[in-house]
Symmetry: C2
Subunit: 157 residues, 2 copies
DNA sequence: TTAGGTGCAAATTCTTTGCACCCTG
DNA sequence: CAGGGTGCAAAGAATTTGCACCTAA
């Protein structure tokens, strides 16, 4: 699944701006790593990004890829699927419920909400395969982390 | 976040039934491991389950915990948060979109759907912290895996 | 009794870190 | 030219596997 060139360019531009603003260096590696994630809808993992970038920069190292991906996530330019930097977590609650996820600390909070339980699945999605569950993922920052962030930002200024 | 005793008992009973039906042994370890996941809403990771179970069975091993958790997942008695058995995956698509996840192979497919873009966040969730994104997660089995499963089940009979 | 389950320890796989050199700003 | 960024190699986590013994059915 490729992303249209125009959209990719827009994303790259956003990255250049964000990097400038944050005082980060725009290295060859960083550009290629972001490009790799920005130009596909495949949700690559770190290793897939690494393999892709290596075709153009044969000397990149996997650790640079990791460092850059997390950096991009801090900048808000890429997101992770599921809870951030977390190992697999388990859940035995099969009554319909939804999740609030804190993108900072990985907190997951269940909640119930009737409106969300009644969502229809669009036909083109049903075509992808039998659906077993639909749930809503609300992402944000929990109160505790929000407090921490506010303090940090404040102290910088 | 504790789960009411009555609900826990219901879940344990479901496990006993599923195990019997699948011809699995109901060992002390399995009961305690499932109990540990079934009695909390904390979405523990494998290590948290291990630590909990160890208080009652000091000799359990972490690998038994892993094996049992995946077994429970196969039985459909526990679910994992995010894509199954997967490492972290990255996404640079910030236009509003939603995911279809295959619980077998980890396939993630983006899709857009206006109805889902307009969901309101209930006030008690807003109270948890500032919300940055709301998205819908549709879980199921992709066509390819569904085909594989059907073949396997068929051949057993 | 006996096949499936467990514990142990070692192997893998994934991710992070320390450090010396390099390159962007 | 200075300080952040990179590559390398090695450390650290997280998860899986092989094998001999154990135990639920």
């Amino acid at each position: 699944m490729r992303v249209p060139d125009q959209e990719v360019e827009k994303r790259l531009e956003r990255f250049r701006g964000a990097a400038r603003e944050a005082g980060l260096k725009l290295t060859h590696q960083r550009m290629e790593i972001f490009h790799e994630v920005a130009s596909t809808e495949d949700h690559p993992d770190a290793d897939a990004v690494f393999r892709g970038v290596r075709e153009r920069i044969p000397t990149v190292s996997l650790d640079t890829v990791y460092r850059t991906l997390w950096l991009l996530e801090d900048l808000g330019l890429v997101a992770t699927l599921g809870p951030r930097r977390e190992r697999t977590r388990f859940d035995a609650n099969f009554t319909s419920h939804h999740h609030f996820l804190c993108g900072r600390c990985g907190l997951v909070r269940d909640f119930e909400h009737e409106e969300y339980d009644m969502l229809d699945v669009p036909p083109e999605v049903k075509r992808l395969g039998p659906v077993s569950r639909v749930s809503v993922e609300v992402r944000g920052v929990c109160r505790e982390c929000a407090g921490r962030l506010r303090r940090k930002k404040g102290s910088k200024r």
